[in-house]
Amino acid sequence: MKRLVARLMRMIGRRTCEDVVATLHDYFEGSLDPRLAAAIERHFQGCPDCRAFSRTYKEVVQLTGELGCDDIPDEVRQRVRAALREHAAATR
């Protein structure tokens, strides 16, 4: 039934919320077919839930990016250094 509803909506150039969610990755990447992107934009205009969903999806990506750091414990670095020396000595 759900697929029938979605298909009927596509026939008249519209998309369901489920369709919109499925395309969000490509939409934010800018890789959607322009007609599909336009259909998504039209859907956003009339759907506060999808506007909210897409804002939160985008925010998750942003927040995930903020988790990064470049720390490495010195003892890990020292371990690698020692392992390399051992390897070099063994292969001489």
Binding site: V5, D49, C50, Y57, E59
Partner: protein, 194 residues
């Protein structure tokens, strides 16, 4: 290899200069270690896997032809090593399907969508959201976690991630989207909505 300094260091490593390998990897070691830590989810395993990956990179250096940037190549070796470690140790979280959004028969949301992004503007709340997100990241399947970290933190391309994870670009795109949806659902629940 586009970086002439890296080319010179590579030549020195191939000539037997170990310190040149340290200089070569230093710009990338933090990013690589953090990716391994996120995938293995514990410091002891991360240290083991990181060392294994660095040794593998050192041994494979003669085969590095510069098709990819050195940092990308190194990162790919490390992510691959971390995922192999997880597979061998069977450390894969079990995920619940309610971590994905649900839709009704009309293709609409099964529950109203809560927009928590306003609270993300406040520094304290944002910090709390990041903590909740870090917890949610731990609960993702290993491969999804590796992919979302590689894309949204380390900035790798889909095809670079596909190489690192022995999968296809399409699979990476699909899993990345799925992982983001799971993270979004977890943050929505944390914020008291859907």
């Amino acid at each position: 290899m586009a970086n002439p300094n890296e080319s010179a260091l590579l030549a020195r490593v191939r000539g037997g200069d170990l310190s040149a390998f340290e200089d070569l990897t230093r710009p990338y070691e933090g990013r690589v270690y953090q990716a391994v830590l996120r995938i293995t989810r514990n410091e002891s395993d991360a240290a083991d896997v990181y060392q294994t990956a660095m040794m593998a990179a050192f041994e494979k250096l003669d085969g590095f032809r510069g098709d990819a940037a050195f940092g990308t190549w190194l990162y790919q070796i490390a992510v691959n090593a971390a995922l192999m470690h997880q597979r061998a140790a069977r450390h894969n979280p079990v995920v619940a399907e309610e971590d994905l959004p649900e839709f009704n028969w009309m293709g609409g949301y099964a529950q109203p969508v809560h927009d928590w992004t306003d609270s993300a503007e406040d520094q304290l709340s944002r910090s709390e959201l990041r903590r909740a997100l870090a917890d949610a990241l731990e609960s993702l399947p290993d491969l999804e976690r590796a992919i979302v970290w590689s894309k949204d933190v380390a900035g790798m391309s889909h095809s670079q991630i596909a190489t690192a994870t022995d999968s296809t670009v399409l699979a990476v795109r699909t899993r990345l989207h799925r992982a983001r949806l799971r993270l979004r659902e977890r943050l929505a629940r944390h914020s008291g909505g859907a």
